[in-house]
């Protein structure tokens, strides 16, 4: 059985990739993912805000209260050696992992400024990243900013990074574009080597007792594959860029669905966080077993087989399908 696939120009032994998560924080962990069978690993995201915050906080707390009081002109030992900030440690881990592993290691970056995107993308390339995933993760909360400007920002970031590095560049997106398909095409034209669909947006929760807004990131559920599944199926064959599916992969079945929709690779995080890195092997085994049982010979054989282009009823992905869903709903609960 031929499980190989090509993702943004990289030949992978199979389509299961460990996506950005805390499981890639150290070389050992990345090695474990490789050992568990990951075809590639996307490292956890490096956030430009975090780097800035860290730099500011370090300077602030080292200086705070110093040179104020005759007895205590400083509070911390002044060691004349470079600090390894998160970004330095990230790049070091990336560097070591890319040498220690046979599989491609991709860097993941979430920038804030154009300068930041370029600087850290270059550094990731220098550190040995086989590719870079741009996690464009911003919330268009500014009411004066039109959608076109938001879209342009995405494109600008992509072009800037593409210009700055030679390694392939993937764009991890949110689904909230007025015209996702059009955007995908624009990203394609701007040189994106892959689109990763979709990132899970920061959706805060409320703590009713404390009356506070609190971060609340939950593990994905298999149900969450629906949105990316639809868009991958819609985009398959319409753009040159590779497609990566992410979100909701908890068994081989979700992976198979994504592949059939047209994904070149399938990424998983929650399942690995819940079950450990070794679960990647289980997923792969499930995919293999299903393929064997259903007599598939290769991944390429099934890739896109259920995309909009290739299904019998292409309207199943569009409005007509919505009406069908409503009708079935009525049928089940109201008319019987």
């Amino acid at each position: 059985m031929n499980l190989t696939t090509t993702y943004m120009g990289l030949k992978l032994k199979h389509p299961l990739v460990a996506s950005a998560s805390p499981l890639s924080r150290s070389v050992d962990q990345i090695k474990r993912l490789e050992d568990a069978g990951a075809a590639a690993v996307v490292m956890f995201s490096l956030f430009e805000e975090q780097i800035k915050h860290e730099s500011n906080a370090l300077a602030h707390f080292q200086e705070h209260g110093t040179e104020s009081f005759a007895e205590a002109l400083s509070y911390f030992p002044q060691i004349d050696q470079p600090f390894k900030l998160s970004s330095d440690q990230y790049l070091e881990t990336l560097h070591q992992a890319s040498h220690a592993c046979q599989i491609p290691i991709l860097g993941s970056l979430n920038g804030l400024t154009t300068e930041g995107w370029i600087r850290y993308a270059r550094k990731m390339q220098e550190a040995g990243a086989a590719g870079i995933e741009l996690n464009v993760y911003s919330i268009a909360a500014n009411p004066t900013l039109p959608g076109s400007a938001v879209e342009q920002r995405y494109l600008d970031v992509l072009k800037a990074v593409k210009y700055a590095v030679d390694v392939p560049v993937a764009l991890k997106l949110s689904p909230f574009f007025s015209s996702m398909a059009h955007m995908a095409r624009q990203f394609d034209q701007a040189g994106a080597d892959a689109l990763v669909l979709f990132n899970r947006f920061y959706q805060p929760d409320f703590d009713l007792e404390a009356l506070e807004v609190v971060p609340n990131l939950q593990f994905s559920t298999p149900f969450e594959i629906r949105l990316p599944l639809m868009w991958i199926a819609l985009l398959y064959g319409k753009i040159k860029a590779s497609l990566a599916a992410t979100g909701g992969v908890h068994s081989g079945l979700e992976a198979l669905k994504y592949l059939m929709a047209g994904a070149d690779v399938v990424m998983t995080t929650s399942a690995l966080l819940q079950h450990g890195a070794g679960y990647l092997g289980t997923l792969l085994q499930q995919v293999k077993e299903w393929m064997e049982a259903h007599e598939y010979e290769s991944v390429s054989q099934m890739k896109g087989s259920m995309s909009q282009r290739n299904v019998a009823d292409a309207s199943a992905f569009e409005r007509a399908n919505y009406i069908k869903v409503l009708e079935s709903f009525k049928g089940e609960y109201l008319t019987s």
Binding site: L58, A59, P77, I79
Partner: protein, 1202 residues
């Protein structure tokens, strides 16, 4: 001669540089102002820098200077070249070992940044009291007068001690030299190797204890031989001066810098000469040069080697023509016929005259100068030399003060100055928080390194830890700068805080035609109208060039908070022209890159932008011809007590130097509660109360570190006459109809720490971000709130008998008797102290260990320990750092004895005062507030009766009757005291069974001296002396105390469980034996966001780092387990707590692997500790232990903790 490296360093670094390289072991303990020497040694060892023998010295921290001296002694006897760094009381603690080390003729150099000794008060500043106190130990005393000498003589001392076998103290003046930054030529390793002979090092080793060739040393001797043995060392002391001079000569040969045991400067035919040592020599040289140029026959003898005192060399140095000598001592020896150096000079000259070595005996007078870094200027030198012209010159005399009591002081010509051609003198006034000092240190480096100019920087700090004012004195010039005194005429004055103009005379120091740079919220057009009149007058009168910049606005725009250093530094270079503008800007940027580069580019970028934007925001002000500004407000209000108006206010206005001797108390006694008169207004943002939202829980008031939030309940009619804007709400609480509640914020005393807002649980239903207390701009409400505070103060105080002491809600109505301290904004220690004073303050005596709490608690000009309306309040004192437990114990013993006497007298006078009253007084329980109030009333009644009695015993009893109300004795200090230096005493007091309450404010680090590790420092935290992260766990002081079985022990964290803290303090106080409360105190030194200090406390508890518990031995008497765990099992990962703090986080940046290892060890430690506490709390109740020595045995105080 070799070209040597130039360095811009302070005296401490200059000395440490040699000490580190010429030694194999450094045994250290922090004490100001010597701490940086030990810190540098530690830092270099961590950086793996090697010494002259290519090995990294061992740097070890001890638990006290006594311990350090012992370790030095041992290490020396073991054969290693060993040193230590210390000052003041630290040196005194070394005395016993110093006698031993000298007695055994052991080669070593102790480095001392000479400092005042605690007498009527502690002082951290410089004089020779400490070194003079050890002059009989047998150590040689070698004195440096400036930074270069601190460096050079260090090597000479190291060389001489090996050759002479006499141990050396190499000392220089604390702060004036130890902290002065100057441009020096650094000695190379070759220089040092040339002077330090390997053969002598080997000989030192060969003399060490060694089982391969054993001997005994340190025997006990008897009357038959001790004396002779003591005399046996004489030849070594006789030879030592020559050895030192040989080393000096060898030194000159290599470096070209000549030194002598006594150096003479001035007219070779001088008639009048000063003799002195230390930094004052430099000022004296300046004055003498100036005077000799004008034909005056004067000179100065500089003493380098004070012990052994070489008579011959002294006589050689002193011109034969001298007719009169004034000897200046920087120390005081009360009751002596003269200070030590004076006595030596008298002796030497008398001997020389009587032995015919001198034909004449000059007139010799002695004077004191410069105690506690008091300024010593060329004008004072001239005054002393002029005094020698008189027929009957004063002896003893004093310089630099006005002594209107003993009339010792000499008049000094205020206008006498020596010329300093080509020297730029600049003075900058800033706040600690605004980065002024750091920027100036930077400027000195830039100028010193990039130009041929010599540079000097000296920095003066005020006595507060929050909102502290700094003054920087910078000199640059073509010749080495010897001016060891503050700038008197500056050609550049920078005032980095606009409001200073109203508080101090900023322009007094401005020379005519000087440049004045002001950080001003007002632009060039309208700034003039906002200047006080006297400032306007000085600008016009001195024809100053006046520039303004709104640096705070720029800082805000650049997200730099309150750091305006970069902008102000750029302005200085732009205006002063010390360097070409563009070059200066490049250098500033270079310095920024150097400072911040390793911490990430973000901070570098911000600062670069600030530099680039500065010049566009710098404006010269066109001066009008007239002045119309308001007069300066007085420092304190007219209703302040006389002492505060006449004395305290002068110190507050930076005019303490002008106070005459008669103005000051003779025995160090000062009035309590003076901070209330110093409205510091250091925060632009203050809490604003929302009466409608407030649930009156008292949390904000409870946590306020500065006692700025106070609550009162009062009957509605009391509101009549309330000023407009006075806030009030109906009291929430059953049983209090028609009562009103006010939470008053003392906005002028608030430091803006925001802990109150953080802890407030009440939120608006409409706007969830709005609480019942929120930070807001102070300026718009300032006038109104001043009136409100005044009205609030006049409202009746709730009677203590009506207050529920057992709840946080109740405690808010208790008057704090510790208020408005100068502690850091958001201090984690002071809320505990405030609470203790609320609960027990009116009958409390405090023994306070030296440290942060003694400084914010007792540093002049104003002090926070206060008193209530009846005039009662905590009586506070500080003995030392090391003996605080014993000091508190003494206070207890004294109180107990006097109580006993009072009781005996009551018994004896039973019939005269009435048997019932006597019986009640003697048997009354005094545990609850109600019982105490009743006893107080009885004692008042007793006193009235005693007044009427003729019996002499009645008079006696009157002086003791106060003791019949139970005294609450508190021993307070930090972890440095309790865990380290004072532990022996603390342990003894715990074991004594006496009713002493010990409060340990545990910040887990030496806070006051700048963040050195203590035994309370937790595993994995980075601190000075533990730069690689502390590898062993925190000492469990609580568990050690529990082991006694009859000590009340509690571990508390006010931010995690205020109710438990409250209960523990009350139980501890009620417990009739020793009590130990270890209080988690978040601290600026932990590298945390102080706004969330209380949340960190909560995380410390939830992570298991700081389990809360109480061990109450009284419970054993009622068959219960004395150990009560007050916090739940750890529920938060340790890293979630630890990595909010730079002390832990830092290691993840410097050594991530080690950080991981230490975190794992720390987790294991937490788990093991928790298991132990859980075991103790779950086991069966142990048998009742022996009762405390002097306790009563009422039922234990038991309440819920939450």
């Amino acid at each position: 001669m070799d070209k040597r490296k130039i360095a811009i360093v302070d005296g401490n670094e200059a000395a440490a540089h040699v000490a580190y390289r010429a030694n194999e072991v450094c045994a250290i303990y922090p004490i100001t102002p010597s701490s940086p020497m030990g810190e540098l040694a530690d830092q270099w060892a961590v950086e793996r820098r090697t010494n002259l023998w290519n090995t990294v010295p061992q740097v070890v921290e001890l638990q006290s200077e006594g311990g350090a001296a012992g370790a030095v002694h041992g290490s020396l006897q073991g054969g290693a070249l060993t040193t230590t760094f210390t000052a003041s009381q630290g040196l005194l603690l070394m005395i016993p070992n110093m006698y031993k080390i000298a007695g055994e003729l052991t080669s070593t150099v102790f480095y001392v940044a000479a400092r005042s000794l605690a007498a009527q008060a502690l002082s951290i500043f410089g004089d020779h009291s400490d070194v003079m106190a050890v002059r009989s130990t047998g150590f040689a005393l070698l004195c440096a007068s400036c930074v270069q000498e601190a460096h050079d003589l260090a090597l000479i001392a190291q060389a001489a001690t090996l050759e002479s076998r006499v141990p050396f103290i190499h000392f220089f003046d604390g702060f004036r030299t130890s902290h002065e930054i100057n441009k020096i030529e650094l000695l190379s390793d070759q220089d040092m190797r040339a002077l330090i002979s390997d053969e002598l090092v080997w000989a030192h080793r060969a003399r060490a204890l060694n089982p391969d060739r054993p001997f005994v040393r340190g025997v006990a001797q008897n009357p038959d031989v001790y004396f002779q043995a003591r005399e046996s060392v004489n030849p070594y002391y006789e030879r030592a001066p020559a050895v030192v001079q040989r080393a000096m000569d060898a030194f000159k040969k290599r470096t070209g810098r000549p030194y002598h045991l006594f150096d003479y400067f001035g007219d070779p035919q001088a008639e009048r000469v000063l003799v002195l040592m230390g930094s004052g020599v430099e000022a004296a040289r300046e004055a003498v040069e100036h005077l000799t140029e004008r034909g005056e026959p004067v000179g100065v003898v500089q003493v380098h080697l004070y012990r052994p005192f070489s008579t011959e060399d002294f006589l050689k140095a002193l011109p034969d023509t001298v007719k009169a000598v004034a000897v200046l001592d920087r120390t005081k020896e009360p009751g002596a016929c003269g200070e030590p150096l004076y006595q030596d000079v008298v002796t030497v000259l008398s001997q020389a005259y009587s032995q015919g070595k001198r034909k004449t005996l000059p007139r010799i007078i002695g004077g004191r100068y410069g105690l506690s870094s008091k300024e010593f200027t060329p004008a004072m030198v001239k005054a002393a030399l002029d005094e020698l012209k008189k027929k009957r010159p004063k002896h003893p005399f004093t310089l630099g003060i006005t002594d209107d009591v003993s009339h010792t002081s000499l008049a000094v010509d205020p206008d006498f100055r020596v010329s300093a051609p080509g020297v730029t003198q600049a003075v900058f006034f800033g706040l600690g928080a605004d980065g002024t000092v750091g920027a100036n240190k930077n400027s000195i480096k830039i100028i010193g390194e990039e130009t041929d100019f010599y540079t000097q920087g000296y920095f003066v700090y005020d006595s507060k830890k929050s909102g502290s004012r700094t003054t920087s004195h910078l000199r640059f010039g073509p010749r080495p700068i010897r001016s060891t005194y503050l700038i008197q005429q500056a050609s550049f004055v920078g005032c980095h805080q606009f409001n200073f103009l109203e508080k101090i005379d900023v322009l007094k120091v401005a020379a005519p035609g000087a440049v004045f740079l002001l950080n001003s919220p007002y632009g060039p057009e309208d700034v003039w109208d906002h200047l006080p009149g006297p400032v306007q007058e000085q600008i016009l009168g001195k024809k100053l060039k006046f520039y303004v910049i709104d640096a705070y606005r720029m800082a805000l725009e650049n997200e730099m908070g309150t750091r305006i250093n970069t902008m102000m530094q750029t302005c200085f270079f732009a205006i002063s022209g010390v360097l070409p503008r563009q070059e200066a800007i490049e250098k500033i940027k270079g310095a920024i890159e150097k400072t911040y580069g390793k911490k990430g580019q973000e901070v570098v970028r911000k600062n670069f932008e600030a530099v680039d934007g500065t010049l566009a925001n710098l404006f010269e002000v066109e001066l009008p011809a007239t002045t119309a500004g308001p007069a300066l407000p007085s420092a304190v209000p007219p209703q302040a007590p006389e002492f505060v108006r006449n004395v305290t206010a002068m110190m507050m206005a930076d005019r303490g130097d002008e106070l005459p001797v008669s103005a000051l108390p003779v025995d160090g006694t000062y009035p309590s509660g003076t901070t209330r008169w110093e409205k510091r207004n250091i925060s632009q943002f203050v809490p604003i109360w929302e009466p409608d939202l407030c649930i009156q829980c008292g949390n904000c008031s409870f946590v306020c570190p500065h006692s700025c939030i106070r609550a009162k309940l009062y009957p509605e009619p009391a509101l009549s006459g309330a000023p407009q804007g006075f806030k009030s709400a109906p009291l929430r609480g059953k049983g209090y109809p028609d009562q009103r509640y006010t939470l008053q914020v003392y906005v002028e005393d608030c430091t803006g720490c925001t802990l109150c807002v953080d802890v407030c649980p009440a939120k608006s239903k409409e706007v969830s971000g709005k609480k019942a207390i929120n930070m807001g701009h102070k300026e718009p409400i300032l006038a109104q709130e001043r009136d409100s505070v005044q009205f609030f103060e006049a409202l009746p105080q709730v009677e203590r008998g009506r207050i529920d002491f057992s709840t946080v809600r109740g405690v808010q109505y208790l008057e704090p008797l510790f208020e408005f301290s100068g502690a850091c904004a958001g201090c984690g220690e002071t809320p505990y102290l405030k609470l203790v004073t609320q609960l027990f303050g009116d009958r409390m005596i405090v023994a306070n260990a030296t440290g942060c709490s003694s400084i914010y608690g007792g540093n002049l000009p104003t002090t926070p320990w206060s008193f209530n309306r009846q005039g009662r309040g905590p009586a506070w004192s500080n003995s030392l750092f090391e003996d605080n437990a014993e000091f508190g114990f003494g206070l207890r013993v004294s109180a107990d004895k006097q109580l006993q006497q009072a009781s005996e007298l009551v018994e004896a006078l039973r019939e005269q005062i009435g048997a019932d009253l006597a019986e009640e007084i003697l048997s009354a329980p005094q545990r609850t507030e109600g019982q105490l109030i009743a006893q107080r009333e009885r004692v008042t009644q007793l006193k009235e009766q005693l007044q009427a009695l003729q019996d002499p015993r009645a008079r006696h009893l009157l002086t003791l009757a106060g003791h019949l109300v139970r005294r609450s004795v508190w021993t307070v200090g930090g972890d440095g005291w309790a865990y380290d230096i004072g532990y022996g005493g603390l342990d003894h007091v715990l074991a004594s069974g006496r009713d002493v309450n010990i409060l340990v404010l545990d910040t887990e680090v030496y806070s006051n001296t700048g963040g050195q590790a203590s035994k309370a420092t937790p595993l994995g935290a980075v601190a000075k002396f533990a730069a690689a992260g502390k590898a062993v766990g925190k000492k469990d002081l609580a568990l050690m105390a529990i082991a006694y079985g009859n000590v009340y022990v509690a571990r508390v964290a006010l931010g995690a469980n205020p109710q438990q803290t409250l209960l523990a303090l009350r139980q501890a106080e009620a417990y009739p034996g020793p009590s130990l409360i270890i209080a988690y105190s978040h601290c600026i030194m932990q590298g945390i966001n102080m706004e969330h200090g209380l949340r960190q406390q909560e995380l410390a508890v939830k992570s298991g780092c700081w389990p809360l518990f109480r061990y109450n031995p009284e419970l054993k008497n009622v068959g219960q387990n004395p150990m009560e765990l007050d916090s739940a099992r750890p529920s938060v990962p340790l890293e979630r707590y630890a990595y909010n703090e730079l002390r832990y986080k830092m290691l993840t940046y410097t050594n991530p692997e080690r950080a991981k290892q230490l975190l794992a060890l720390a987790k294991a430690d937490v788990e093991a500790k928790w298991a132990m506490y859980e075991y103790l709390a779950r086991r069966e109740a142990p048998a009742a232990s022996a009762p405390p020595a002097d306790g009563n045995h009422d039922a234990p105080l038991q309440e819920k903790t939450s």
